[in-house]
Structure formats: structure tokens, C-alpha cells
């Protein structure tokens, strides 16, 4: 009985998650699709052919978006890992305030952050450039990364690091062979969040990039507002691709028993 309920719940969840994508698939191959027809009148690959051809700019945009999201993730790890370590391991004055400030960009609406940020990046000469957009993306990404790493380090016993050092491991070897394996599942969760938050930024890219940095969400919106449902659908399907891929690769490691963040840290 319980097994049946679980199967049913799983099925319902799958339907709930997959159903919204079905019209996208339909639209991306439709030559015409009038209400209230259940299926498109005519089917073809014109939209896909256009979306994957250089003139549409989709592939270039895909590359730029990947570059920005990857660079943002890498920077977020470089900053968020040490910051999360300090917040997770040590009790110091003003720790609560640091948490609040870290959370602020995630709590405030993006539009409130954008104007000040634009001013600063203009003065630095970074507005309208890819590095500028990457820096802007760090604002919503860093809180996720830091908070995930703080939670990971709160469960980490630094005695393992002392033990490694006294067995002759250098600080780098200690990180590489002892700390990293222990924090890896959490680090992957953080990196996944970071990549996807950056990947789906619209407002920050639009205002800081000034139209010169064309990421996939921007392209998607311009095709959507031009009323090209077929091309929009094709781009939208490309757009959700990295999310699905990352999820497929990491789901086993970051969920359920396989992840077992706590089990892996202590023998």
C-alpha cells in the first residue's frame, strides 16, 4: 500500500514537472498551431534549423552564457569557500551581522541593487562588458555559495586537518586530500546553485551588460516579445538543457543516502 502511494506520488511529481515542457516541444516543431487543436497542424524543423544557425545568435549566446555562469561559479567558490569556512567554524563578534549582510542581496529585489551597482561598474569602466556582468552576477550568487559552505563547515571537524598536517601533509595537500573530499558534496550543491542562478539572470545582465552582453535569457525574451513562439520554444528547450544535465549528473551524489553529508565527515 505504501509502495503504491509512493509510486503514485512519484508519477504525479513527474507529470507536474514534465507537463509544462510538452507544449514547448510542440511549439518548437510547429508550423502552425491554432486554438483549440491538441496537436500542431503541421510539423517541421524550421525553428530548430534557424535557432541552431549562426544568424540567430543562439549558439554564440549559449557560449557567452556558459562562460559567464562558469566564471561566476568559479569566483563564487574562491570567495564563498573561505568565507563559509570562517562563518561555519568560528564564533566571532558580528557573525550575525555578516550573515544578514550576506543574505541581503538574496532578500532584496534585484531592481533595488541594480542602479547602485550600475553606477559603480560604470565608474570602473566595466559596464557593458563580460567581466562587469560576472561581477554583477556574484551579488545574488555569493550568498547561496557562502551559506551552503557555512553549513558544510559547521559539520566539519578540523581535527582531521591537524591530523593530516602532523602526518606530513602540506597545507595544500591537506586541503586536496582531506578537506576537499569531506566538503565535496556540499561544494557541488553550492556550485550547482551558483551556476543556475547566474545562468538565469535577466535583469542584472540586461542593465549591466547594456545590451552588449547577449545571454540566453535576453535572447529568449527578445524572441518571445517578437511573437516567434516556435523559435522561443526551441531556445527555451536549449536554455533548460544545462540545468537538466547538471541535475542528472549530480542528483545521485547530492541527494538521499548517496550524499550523506554528515556520514562522510565522521567515521
Amino acid at each position: 500500500m505504501r509502495a503504491n502511494l509512493r509510486t503514485l506520488a512519484g508519477l504525479a511529481l513527474a507529470v507536474f514537472l514534465v507537463l509544462p515542457f510538452l507544449p514547448l516541444v510542440g511549439w518548437s516543431v510547429a508550423r502552425g498551431w491554432r486554438f483549440p487543436a491538441l496537436l500542431p497542424d503541421q510539423v517541421g524543423v524550421d525553428a530548430w534549423a534557424y535557432a541552431l544557425s549562426p544568424p540567430s545568435g543562439v549558439l554564440a549566446s549559449f557560449a557567452v552564457t556558459t562562460l559567464i555562469a562558469s566564471a561566476t561559479t568559479l569566483l563564487a567558490i574562491l570567495v564563498g569557500l573561505p568565507a563559509g569556512r570562517a562563518l561555519g567554524l568560528y564564533r566571532f563578534r558580528g557573525r550575525g551581522l555578516v550573515f544578514l549582510l550576506l543574505l541581503a542581496p538574496a532578500l532584496l529585489p534585484g531592481i533595488a541593487v541594480v542602479f547602485g551597482l550600475h553606477g559603480i561598474l560604470l565608474r570602473l569602466g566595466l559596464a557593458g562588458s563580460i567581466p562587469g556582468v560576472i561581477l554583477a552576477h556574484l551579488v545574488p550568487v555569493l550568498p547561496y555559495m557562502t551559506l551552503v559552505m557555512a553549513a558544510v563547515f559547521a559539520r566539519f571537524d578540523t581535527a582531521f586537518e591537524d591530523q593530516a598536517r602532523s602526518l606530513g601533509a602540506t597545507p595544500w595537500q591537506t586541503f586536496r586530500h582531506v578537506t576537499l573530499p569531506a566538503i565535496l558534496p556540499g561544494l557541488m550543491v553550492g556550485a550547482l546553485f551558483a551556476f543556475l542562478v547566474s545562468w538565469s539572470q535577466y535583469l542584472l545582465t540586461l542593465s549591466i551588460g547594456g545590451g552588449r552582453v547577449q545571454t540566453l535569457p535576453l535572447l529568449l525574451f527578445s524572441f518571445a516579445s517578437a511573437g516567434r513562439n516556435d523559435i522561443t520554444a526551441a531556445i527555451a528547450l536549449l536554455y533548460i538543457l544545462p540545468g537538466l544535465m547538471i541535475l542528472a549528473v549530480t542528483a545521485r551524489r547530492i541527494t538521499g543516502r548517496g550524499a550523506a553529508l554528515t556520514e562522510r565527515l565522521h567515521p
Partner: protein, 345 residues
């Protein structure tokens, strides 16, 4: 073979008024198995971490064979430390754990495998090399942790409470293993413990630390029979203390003059006598005491007596216990050779 020496080692933790270690001077003889003994919070573990380089001292020096190593990072000191918990890396197998230090030195895989196999046999973990740490018992984990340090052939081996995480039944086995491996390898070894019985059973020499200071350093028997101070005597279970004055071989005190052993120092002192050395029955320095209590302790029986208003305790064999009735008088004697004078407080 390496002599470890500490000179004026001092460490104060921020925000704590009292120093954890006060200007400690200590020499651990080459090839010895020395116990660093003291109650919890006396600065033992801090001292270990200062030696291992995991903490840096506020002042003072750590030296190996006279060469200062105070500024060297832990990985370049040639000192291996085994912690109270086995701390086996959970993502590695037992064999990989034991080979960890050698791998950090970038030794060839075949050499590592060979030495790990030999080490596994020495700590009787043959056949368990492929297991994960969690699949081993507490005693096996502790042996693996010991093997992981010994395989490096360190100049100095530090063991922090190596027996405290084990069940009492496993302690004797582990103690014997530490003793055997230490004698075979001759590695200068410092063991931290709070248990005086463990220190006496394990070590050649004992360093007693009280309140961050060195209280006494010597063979176990010295600390036991010839304590340097009242605090040392108390730590080793001393209970009989009689203040008085030593003059011409006699000790003038509240229970009357007592004959002292030859060569006893003159002047004001506190006389002490181990409870097991106090004889129930006539002999030298006889006295009559009233029995206050008799406590059965298993292998021994503790007897409390009052002699002229001074409380004394004796440890005796249980077969005598039946004849001891609280409230009755008993003749006891204080053998002169068992009397020891402590400096007055």
C-alpha cells in the same frame, strides 16, 4: 634516536587570563617512552600541540637534538601525532589511511603498498586493509591510527590519550602493543594521559604537569614513593600527611616522635606514608589507632583510623578485613623506610 627538549615553553589562549602552559622546561630522553601526566585542563594537550607545531608558543623553544624547530610547520618537523580519537579519514580505506603520510611524500606506489602491508601485520590488521574505517571496531581503528603514524618512522611520536577511547578490556592489549612497538622501533615517544595507573604501567619516565607547570619528572617509582611536593603526592593517591619537624633522625609531630630513615632532611616538613605501606600490627614506630571505617575495594581493603586526632588510611589485603571492626582499637606501625618528607606548603 632523538632527544626532544622544551625550553621556557609558554602559551596563553586569547581571552583566558591564566596561561595554559607556564614556561615549561623539559627533556624527553632519546628512545624513551615518557608519559605526560596530569589532570584534565593542566595543559597537556596544549603542550602536545606546541610540540607538533599545530599551535605556536608565545615564548620558548622546541628542539630536536638541540636544533630548534619552533618555527617549522608541522609537516616539516618529523613529529607524528596520534589523537585521542582515531581520526581515520573516512573516504579512504584502512590501507590508504596507513599509507597517507608516505603518499604525501610522493613515494612510489609499490613501496607504499609493501610498507603498508608490513605495517598492517605489525598491528594485527592483516586482511582489513580494504575496509573503510567505519567497518572496524574501536580498538582496530586505534591500532590503524597508530600504524599510520609509526609507518613514517618519525623522530618523535606523540600519543594523546591513546587508550581513553577504548573499552577497559581493550586497554591492556593496546598498552602492550604500544610498549612492544616502541621498544622495537626505539622511537622517542611522549604519551599524554590523565590516568596515573596508565602512566605507571606504560612509561619508563613520567612527567607530571599540574596547572601548566612541571611538577615532577622521573621514573614512575620516584613519583610514587618520593613525591617532590604535596600536590604530587596527592595526585598519586597519597592520603596520609602529618605536619611536623625533623630533628636528629626523629620527626616531632602530633602523634609523637617517629623514627625517620637515615639521611632524612632537617627542619619543618610534611611527613607522608603511602597507605599500602602503613602496617596493621606491631612493628617499628608503633601506635594505637581507633578504626573509623573499613571499605572493601575488591583486591584491597581501605581502613580509616584516627591516631591521637590525626586521620590515617591504610590499604590491606581483604582477608584481614573480617577482623577489623569499626570503633575498636588497633595497633599499627609506620615503617621508617616508608616515611618520606615533603617540603612544607
Amino acid at each position: 634516536m632523538t632527544t626532544l627538549s622544551l625550553h621556557g615553553l609558554r602559551k596563553t589562549y586569547p581571552g583566558v587570563g591564566q596561561a595554559a602552559v607556564h614556561g615549561l622546561d623539559l627533556t624527553v630522553d632519546s628512545g624513551s617512552l615518557t608519559a605526560l601526566l596530569g589532570p584534565s585542563g593542566c595543559g597537556k594537550t596544549t603542550t602536545m600541540k606546541l610540540i607538533a607545531g599545530l599551535l605556536s608558543p608565545d615564548a620558548g623553544e622546541v628542539a630536536l637534538d638541540g636544533t630548534p624547530i619552533t618555527t617549522l610547520p608541522p609537516e616539516r618537523r618529523g613529529i607524528a601525532m596520534v589523537f585521542q580519537n582515531p581520526l581515520l579519514f573516512p573516504h579512504l580505506t584502512i590501507a590508504q589511511n596507513i599509507g597517507f603520510g608516505l603518499r604525501m611524500q610522493r613515494l612510489p606506489q609499490t613501496d607504499i603498498a609493501e610498507r603498508v602491508a608490513a605495517m598492517l601485520a605489525r598491528v594485527r590488521l592483516d586482511g582489513l586493509g580494504d575496509r573503510r574505517p567505519a567497518a572496524l571496531s574501536g580498538g582496530q581503528q586505534q591500532r590503524a591510527a597508530l600504524a599510520r603514524a609509526l609507518i613514517l618512522q618519525p623522530k618523535v611520536l606523540l600519543l594523546d590519550e591513546p587508550l581513553s577511547s577504548l573499552d577497559p578490556s581493550l586497554r591492556d592489549e593496546m598498552r602492550a602493543l604500544i610498549r612492544t612497538l616502541q621498544q622495537e622501533t626505539g622511537i622517542t615517544t611522549l604519551v599524554v594521559t590523565h590516568d596515573q595507573a596508565e602512566a605507571v604501567a606504560l612509561a619508563d619516565r613520567i612527567v607530571l604537569m599540574l596547572d601548566g607547570r612541571l611538577a615532577q619528572h622521573g621514573p614512575p617509582e620516584d613519583l610514587y614513593r618520593r613525591p617532590a611536593s604535596l600536590a604530587v603526592a596527592r595526585f598519586f593517591g597519597g592520603v596520609n600527611f602529618i605536619p611536623g619537624r625533623s630533628q636528629g633522625g626523629l620527626f616531632q609531630c602530633p602523634i609523637g616522635p617517629l623514627t625517620l630513615p637515615p639521611g632524612a632532611p632537617q627542619g619543618d616538613h610534611i611527613l607522608t606514608l603511602r597507605p599500602e605501606a602503613l602496617r596493621l600490627g606491631p612493628g617499628a614506630n608503633p601506635r594505637t589507632g581507633r578504626i573509623d571505617f573499613v571499605t572493601f575495594l575488591g583486591t584491597q581493603t581501605r581502613v580509616g583510623l584516627t591516631v591521637d586526632g590525626t586521620a590515617l588510611q591504610a590499604l590491606t589485603t581483604p582477608d584481614l578485613a573480617g577482623q577489623l571492626v569499626p570503633g575498636t582499637d588497633l595497633t599499627i606501625s609506620l615503617p621508617p623506610e616508608a616515611l618520606w618528607l615533603l617540603p612544607p606548603e
